[in-house]
Symmetry: C7
Subunit: 100 residues, 7 copies
Amino acid sequence: MPHAFGIRRIVLDVLKPHTPRLTDLAMMVATDESVLGVNISLKEVDQSTESIAITIEGDDLRFDVIKEILEQAGAVIHSIDQVVAGKRFVEEVALQPENT
Amino acid sequence: MPHAFGIRRIVLDVLKPHTPRLTDLAMMVATDESVLGVNISLKEVDQSTESIAITIEGDDLRFDVIKEILEQAGAVIHSIDQVVAGKRFVEEVALQPENT
Amino acid sequence: MPHAFGIRRIVLDVLKPHTPRLTDLAMMVATDESVLGVNISLKEVDQSTESIAITIEGDDLRFDVIKEILEQAGAVIHSIDQVVAGKRFVEEVALQPENT
Amino acid sequence: MPHAFGIRRIVLDVLKPHTPRLTDLAMMVATDESVLGVNISLKEVDQSTESIAITIEGDDLRFDVIKEILEQAGAVIHSIDQVVAGKRFVEEVALQPENT
Amino acid sequence: MPHAFGIRRIVLDVLKPHTPRLTDLAMMVATDESVLGVNISLKEVDQSTESIAITIEGDDLRFDVIKEILEQAGAVIHSIDQVVAGKRFVEEVALQPENT
Amino acid sequence: MPHAFGIRRIVLDVLKPHTPRLTDLAMMVATDESVLGVNISLKEVDQSTESIAITIEGDDLRFDVIKEILEQAGAVIHSIDQVVAGKRFVEEVALQPENT
Amino acid sequence: MPHAFGIRRIVLDVLKPHTPRLTDLAMMVATDESVLGVNISLKEVDQSTESIAITIEGDDLRFDVIKEILEQAGAVIHSIDQVVAGKRFVEEVALQPENT
């Protein structure tokens, strides 16, 4: 299957230990050359873990490389929450609630 | 019926098994040359299935080809939630609630 | 009455059988040459019918032609929810709630 | 009183019989040459009447002419909900709720 | 005190009798040459009075002149709800609620 | 400490007597030459006092001068609610609520 | 690990004593030459402490320097709430709630 258009955005729901901290984890992810930019937002803090949302953008992201970077940092991917692929960057459409 | 203007956006409510994962499914959909871009967002995760919203944009989308790609991936279309067609890209209008 | 300025947008609340599906109905509406673009959004699904919102834009829309296309597809117009007419495209104003 | 700057927008809360329908009423309002554009949105439907919001924009709107057009269509103005006048088009300011 | 920079916007909470109607009151306010534009929005209607929000913009608004125009129309200013002054037009900042 | 970059915005929660009114207080604050623009919004009115939010913008605001102007007007600063400083104007980030 | 792309934004949840006040703390943070701009917003005030959100932007922010500046001011970092890194500035994506 020829990948004419690559993955442009991946949003991940991730569980990580307190170390490495967000600034270090963001730099680790950014070192993969397929990554153009990364946003990590803290969602919940527990005693030994924290829940984070990672948004990664690029032109042709390599999911397996990103997954390996996260695992080497001790982080676990709970779910892939959004993926954007193709030449045109498509955002999710907010459907209007039914008019009552 | 001459199709002077084609389908520009399709939003689908889809049920899929956990495999293939979102990154792979997005690339499969993007391989159809009528697809300019695709956004897949996770909505709900169950034991053996997950519910996703797929937003596809192009200039003349071929629904049957897209449907076949999804079915070959083991996914089932629950409903078509939005379609945009024609020369001008028309968004749904948010009607204001009644002033009380 | 000379129609110096035409109808620019019509929003319709429509009830339709499951067939034709949204992609086909959108293409049917788009074949009327007064229609520049159309958005159809699914609102509710029942056993044999579905409720949809149709937003149609053009420079001089012909309501009767659109109505006939919908009726030939087995769809019934419940109500006209919004109409825009004239040289300047006017959106509905969101009135601020009273300051308490 | 010299009217250096005219009325630019009028928002009306109107009660009308089911006939004429919104597309026809919009065209009637648009025939007044002071009207550059009009938006009519349905708010509530009762057995023999319907409640609508009419937003009219122009450079020097003539309220009395608009009122007459509506009355000839059997519609009654319940209230004038917003008026904009003058050289600069001023929108209503959304005051922030008090910080608690 | 030299007024290097003048008042740019005044938002008023006003109580008025039903007459004059909003279109006439807006034109009265707009006749003051310091007023570049005015927006009047209806907030509440009582038996003999109505509550309105008046937003006035200009480069060097004269509050006392505006107040006199309103009083001559039988309107009473309940409160001044917002004032913007100075060379740069500053909007109120929406402070984010505390992250919990 | 060399102040390479100055204060660009200060948001204040202030309690003041009814006099001076908002238009006069805004002009008093605007007379400080470090102030490029000011927005004063009314939050709450009590019998002898009113609570206001003051947003001041400039390139190198002098807090002590602003504080003195407010105190000479009989106003008391309850809290400094937001400060922006530096070459780049940074807005507060709205953190997304946790996806459930 | 070569830091090809640096930290672009850090959002911090911080507890501080009432002194230094926000204007002074913002200037202290801005003196670090890696900081292009800073926004400090007050979240909660207690008897001897206050909770603040600090948003810092730059091209290659040095977290340890910023942390030291805050600690010298008597402030304690509760959590790092968001980090952006890389060539492209990536904002957190607002995932749409599930369509019901």
